[in-house]
Structures are given as C-alpha cells and as structure tokens.
C-alpha cells in the first residue's frame, strides 16, 4: 500500500444551527486521484475549506495529518506553503489582466516593492507549456476561452509548487471536448507523481479519472469505493452511495400517458438578435406540442433553444419576429409583453434561476405568488392569509425543504430554489410550460423529484416543453424530441426510438451542412 499523504481525522465542523461535518474521516494516498462525490450540501466543499485553511484551525474539531505531521492551518497561505492548492469552482481570474499577472497574483515574483516581470513571464510560460497551452503568458485572460482559462488556473496552482491539488468541479463550465482534455491532463500529472482530489457532479468523469471515490452524505463520509480495477465502477453504484438507496430507475416511469390535441404550434418562427438585428438566432423553426405531452428540445450551447422559448413567451427575447403562433389551433397575435403571454397561459421557467428566475432577497411566499398575484388579491389588495396558504400548499406539493415559507429564497439550496421557481409557474396555472434546463446544477435526489413533478404536470394535461443539455434526461423523460442546431430545427424523433448516438449523429450531420 502506498504512503498516506493526507489524513483528515474525526473532523467535525458546526455552523450555528447546523452540523456541516460530523466526525468525518478521509484518507488520500500519495500519487492517486481521489474523487469526492455527494449531493449538494453534503459537505464536500466544507471539508475542502477546512483542509485549505479557509476555515482556520480552531473553528473545527479533529486533526489534519499531512505528510506525517499534524497541521494547523490558519489561512490559505499556510496550506499553500505545504503544497496544498485548491482550485475553486468559479474561475478566479481577472479578465483584464494578462495570464502571467493572474498566475502570480498575490504570489508576485521579484522584490517587495518591484515586480520582476521578466521572471514572472518566463516562469509563467514554463508552467503554461506543462498544462499544454501554447499561448504567451502576456495575453489578456479575457481573450482565451473558458477551457483554456481552467488550464491557466491549473498552471497557477503548479506555480505554487502544488503537491496536493484540489479541483472543485473543474469541468462544470467546460464543453465535452475541453473536459476530456482536462481529465487526461490530470491522468498525465498522476503519472508524474502528483496527488489530486477532484470534486465533481459528473459521475462518468469521476469513474473515468479517479482511483478512489469517497462518498459524502449529510456531513459524513459514507463509503470509499475502489476504482483501481480495469473495469470502471458504474454510475449507478456511486449514486447508490450518494442518495443512500438504490435508484433502480433514474427517471420515474410515467403511467397513464394520455396525449391529446395539439396545444401550441409554432409555425416558421424566426427571431433576430436584439443587438445585431441582421443575425437570425431562431431560424424558421416549426414545432408543436400536444396536451399531456413532454417534448424535449435538445441542442448544444448556443443552438438557440433558450431564445426560441423566450421569444414564444411574450417576445421576451429578440426583435423582428416573423412566423405564427397557434394556441389550440387558433392563431394568436401576442403583444411584446410577458404579462400577455401569462394571460395566454404560457409559462417560461428560466434556466438561470438566480439571474432572472427568483428574487433571492424575498421569501418563498413572495416568490411563489409573484406571477399570479391577481389570484390572491382583490382590487390590488393582497390577501396575506391566502398568499400564505398558497405558499404552504406548494411547499407540501413540491416537497420544498424549509422550516417556513417566510424563509428567504437566497438561503435555500439549488434544488429547493428550483422547486420554488417551478411552484411560481405552477401557481400561475399555465397550460403550456416551457422548462429551460429544469435540473441544471442540482443533485441527483432533487433531479428525481423534479422529474416526478414534470411527469405530474404532463399527467394533468399540461403541454410541457423541456429544454435540456443532458441527453440521458431528454431520452429518459420525453415523448418526442426536437433537435436544434445553430438556430434551426434539424431533427425530430420519438422518445422511444431515439438514442444518444442517433441524436448526436443528427447534430453532426447538420453541422457539416448536409
């Protein structure tokens, strides 16, 4: 057995009212890639913050033993001195500065009062080559893509002489290709003897890259799964540990499927970019959705899916609209107004719940009633009791975990926020629901619950359009799937017939212009 580089022993960390970590034990061998998985709020990030000194020594109980010595880290500098470097989920680079400046930010080369730029850039270049970047360290960070920015973060960590590298969701903002490149780079570093901890929600990546997988649930380490073998551990196996039960089916079965008449029909719909009116963002799209049907729209980033949905929802995106919308077979002339769309019983559930979905500084109650205040008020005077009752009703229905509906939405976890967002639109009583990435950034358990809600909506006769970038989700849930690419509808398939391969083939074909 290889040497243990890091051992965290009986770590307990309490925040006022919550035990975030409860007697956690965690071991990392030298030279391995160790994955830390668990649902949102399970305690992964808290554990890493304890390790890196963000929560200083004394604010937690237990011991950190690194390289055979008990350590007391009072801040990040202390842990970095020993080669423990953490790369956070959100990129922490200053876009206006050069790569070199960013890499040595807070760690400047040269004298106390004068930075030695020659050394800085020379060394920066050296580390950039190590991560496989050919860019000069003198270019501004904003000129390179997010994939390369993530590599710059790693180069920055290397420049700090990292021995134990912690990557928190390193691929969350990367596309498929860049993700794979990053994971391969990690494997390369492993060969050179680097030890790494990766936190990730993407279980296929974890299975691909990690030697050992530790599952964290409810602030405790549940189990450690060995992945040294030639056979990769299955995602189902990991999920079982994460949620504490066997999920035999990641997608709930829908019984009693009754698909009715066409409810919404979009006919030759074209939308132009609001700032560059000559650019078509949605290009001659025709589609329809029936009552009780779940229709998926799959496409890569920038395919125009969000823009399509928002333009249908009261023209809340774009200019120069052409084409026709029909509801229940009748053409509708909708004004450029979200309120008008709601009146036509359309709801758009945004992909960006924090950005334009919820009012984080307000309570669950206020957010739930927002899109349909008329229903709880008479002559514009809000009936506070009725509002409270409605919020309670949806809290029960959607299993929103909160002590009270007066709780501020900003204090909820991602999954619960998503439920509040859904509650708001369900309360608006729409017939047509346009769901944009309804499970983005939420954990496996919450995803399952959202899927159940979507199925219930369809069973209640709503027409559901679900936009998603996750193929398994689209395949698992949808009755029919549209495929979009570069603003155009490039394919349509039955959910029962579609496969990952057939959908990707359609996109590739359209990309080649066939």
């Amino acid at each position: 057995m290889a040497k243990i580089l890091l051992e965290m022993k009986n770590i307990t960390k309490t925040f006022p009212g919550v035990k975030a970590l409860d007697n956690v034990n965690f071991q990392v061998e030298e030279g391995e890639i160790h994955a830390l998985v668990g649902e949102n709020g399970a305690g992964k990030s808290t554990l890493m913050n304890v390790l890196s000194g963000i929560y200083p020594y004394g604010t937690y109980e237990g011991d950190i033993i690194y390289d055979g010595k008990v350590c007391e880290f009072h801040n990040i500098k202390d842990s970095e001195k020993l080669g423990i470097v953490i790369i956070h989920q959100e990129l922490a680079l200053v876009p206006e500065m050069t790569i070199g400046e960013n890499m040595y930010l807070g760690n400047e080369r040269g004298h106390k009062y004068a930075i030695d730029w020659n050394t800085t850039y020379a060394e920066a270049d050296k580390y950039l080559r190590m991560v496989g970047l050919s860019e000069s360290s003198k270019v501004q960070v904003k000129t390179i893509g997010t994939g390369k920015q993530q590599l710059v973060e790693i180069a920055k960590a290397l420049a700090k002489k990292a021995r134990l590298l912690i990557l928190d969701e390193p691929t969350s903002s990367l596309n498929e290709e860049d993700s794979r490149a990053l994971l391969d780079l990690m494997l390369e570093f492993k060969k050179q003897g680097m030890t790494m901890i990766i936190i990730s929600h993407k279980l296929n990546e974890v299975a691909y890259v990690a030697d050992t997988i530790t599952v964290v649930r409810d602030g405790a380490t549940i189990e450690t799964i060995d992945n040294h073998g030639t056979e990769q551990v299955s995602e189902e196996r990991i999920i079982k540990g994460m949620v504490g039960r066997e999920i035999t089916n990641r997608f709930p079965k829908r019984d009693n499927v009754q698909i009715g008449d066409i409810q919404l029909e979009v006919d030759h719909w074209t939308v132009h970019h609001p700032l560059y009116p000559e650019r078509k963002v949605v290009d001659d799209v025709s589609m329809y959705v029936r009552k009780g049907e779940v229709v998926g729209i799959y496409g890569l980033m920038g395919a125009g899916r969000t823009e399509l949905a928002m333009s249908i929802f009261g023209q809340s995106y774009g200019t120069n609209f052409s084409g026709e919308l029909k509801i229940d077979g009748k053409p509708v002339k909708m004004k450029k107004s979200e309120a008008d769309a709601i009146k036509h019983k359309i709801a758009y559930v945004t992909e960006d719940r924090k950005g334009n979905g919820l009012v984080l500084s307000q309570s669950i109650k206020v957010n739930t009633s927002l899109a349909h205040l008329d229903a709880i008020s008479s002559h514009t005077v809000i009936d506070g009791d009725k509002e409270y009752a409605v919020a309670e009703e949806y809290r029960d229905k959607l299993k929103i975990k909160t002590p009270t509906v007066e709780q501020l939405v900003g204090n909820l976890s991602g999954g619960n926020q998503q439920k509040v967002l859904l509650a708001k639109w369900m309360f608006a009583e729409p017939d047509i629901m346009l769901l944009d990435e309804p499970t983005r950034g939420i954990d496996v358990g919450a995803k399952y619950e959202i899927y159940c809600i979507i199925n219930d909506l369809a069973a209640a006769g709503k027409s559901v359009v679900m936009i998603s970038s996750e193929l398994p989700e689209v395949l698992g849930l949808c009755d029919r799937i549209y495929i979009m690419n570069e603003g155009k509808m490039v394919g349509e398939m039955k959910g029962s017939e579609a496969t990952q391969e057939s959908i990707m083939a359609v996109i590739l074909k359209s990309g080649r212009g066939e």
Partner: protein, 389 residues
Amino acid sequence: MDKKVLASTLKKNAMLVVLVLVYLFFMVLTGGGIFRPTSFNALISQNAYVYILGCGMLMCMLTGGNIDLSCGAFVCLLGAIGGVLMVIQGWGTGISLLVVLLIGIVYGCGLGALVAYVRVPPWIATLAGYLAFRGLGTAILRANSSTGSIGPFPDSFLDIFSRIVFKTPEGVMNIPCIVAGIVAAALVVLLVFRNRAVRLKKGYEADSFGAAAAKSGIGAAVILLVMYKLSLAGGIPTVLLWVTGIVLIYSFITSKTTIGRHFYVVGGNIEAARLSGVNTKRIMFLAYLNMAVLTSISAMTVIARFTAANANAGKNFEMDAISACVVGGVSASGGAGSILGMVIGATLIGVINLGMFQISLDANYQRVVKGFVLLAAVVFDILSKQKQK
C-alpha cells in the same frame, strides 16, 4: 422572556433602540428640554417634510437604489410658484394648490418617462432638476419681490398646512387631541390582536401573546405620550394629519398591495420581475411620478410653516429624505425597506437636530455631528445584521 429572545428582538429593532438611547442622551443634555410639549410640536412640524419626502424616496429606492436629487430644488420652485399665485396674483387657495399639484404631476410624468422609457440613469435625470429648479425658483422670487421672499400667505392656506386643529392655549389640555390619541392607541392594540387571532385560527405562525402585547403596548404608549404632550402644546398640528395620512397610505401600499409588491421585486431582481409579467417600466415611471406628487405636498407644508416662499426653501431636503431612508434600513441597492423603518430613521435625525439646536451647538459642528451620527447608525445597523446570521 429568556435572554436569546431579548437579544434577537433588540437586534431586529436596532435602530429603534438607537433612537431611544439618543433621545435619553439629549434628555440629560437639555435638562429635560426635549421632553417639553413644545419640543414635540417642533419635532413634528420641523420634520414633516422628511416624512413626506421619505415616503416618495423609499418608493424610488425600492426599485433598485434609485434616488431623486431634484426634490429639494423642486420644493423651492413650487414654493415660488405658489407664492406668486396666492400672494402676488391673489388667486384662491384651492385653485392655486391645484395648479401646483398639476405642475408636480407634469414634472413627474416627464421625469418618470425619462427614467423608465428613455432609460436615463435616475441620478443624472434628477441632477438636471437639482441644478435648474432652484435657479428658476430664485429668479421667479426676485422678479416678484425686491427681498427675494414672497409672503405672507392667506389664512385659508395656512389653515390647511400649518395651524393647529381646535387650538387651546398652551398648558391647557386639548380634549380633541387626547381623544384622538386614545382612539388611535386603542386601534393599534385592537389591530395587532385581531391579526394574531385570525392567524391562530387559521393555524398559521403568529406572535406569542407576550410579543403581541409588547408590540401593541409600546405602539400605544408612544402614541399616547406624543398626543398627551401635543395636547399640552395647543393640540394636533394640521401637518401631523398630512404626515399620518401619507405614512399610513404608503405603509398600506408597500405592505398590502400588488403594486407595492411589484416595487420590491423590481428592486430585488428586475429580470425575474419582468419575466414574471411585472411591467417593470411602469413601476419605474410610477416611482418618479409619485415622488413629484409628494414633493408638491411637501412644498406646501414648507412654505406654510415659514409663511413665506424664499430661495433657501428645500435646501438639502433630498439628502434628508435619503438619510432617513438609509438610517431606517432601506437597502441602498433596492428591494428592501419599510415605511416604519423610514419613519424611525427620520425621527432619529429629527431628534438629533432638535437636541443640538436646544443645547445651542454651533451650526457648523451640528453638521459634523450629524455626519458622524449617520455613519455610526448605519455601521451599527449593518454590524447587528451581520451578527444575526
């Protein structure tokens, strides 16, 4: 009551505690002077404009920390116009007030349209008025009066804005005033308990009996004290009726109506509000229209109090209104704040002003003290909120 509950209650009402402490401080310093009936009268009549403008400023700030810099200068201009109409031209009070209000509405519509539909940043849009209106107002005053001051105003006008209802001599208890106080205090108690009873009946979260008793008890006691003191100072100033009416109306709008809710969500997340079907532009428009209307009313109370319109009227009023809001816990980035908080903030500033005046502190030092007290109050508020988390 255990210590935890007490501590959290104190933190939640930090500014109220500060107000009480500051009041007690000046009580000692002025040898009880600030507790005299006339001081109560002065506190209300001198600060009426802060309460009225504060309501308008609160609505503006709720939409996203937007402010109106022009309201002070607009008070000066409207005062000058009112003076010309009533004193120089001799128009009737009713028609003059109507004209002044109309001018307010016209300005409000223009400003609201600029801010909401042309999307001029509010502080720039109102900076124009800040610069222009005082100049225009002063010019009008100069053109009509050699002293630059127009007055005195007719009695019918003063009766509406700056007299005392059913006035009795000082020191003699004013019966209507006391009766009004008792009725108001009883109403407060009744409303708090009725609300609690309804919530309990429907099985919702409600205050404990002690909390409800404390809340209504303090409210009722403050009302009774103020009204008792006022009754000894001659009775209820008419301007108090204006202030009470406006404060109650805006308190109702912000807490109970859909339109008030829209102001909060626009400030909390304007995109989320828009995608939820809120007409965000209309809200911005209304915020500034409303501000201009309240400024017109405020202008009338000010010229009535001085019984003259002059070039200095309304100076720094915009800053007073903003200070009242900020000290009262209104978020500088929008989406949070209450009328009650603003009223407490305005009263705090009023007490400090009055206290310093009564101990005859040099006017320059008064400003120094005010600046630091404002800063201290806000820092205290922020710190106490941080600890709450």
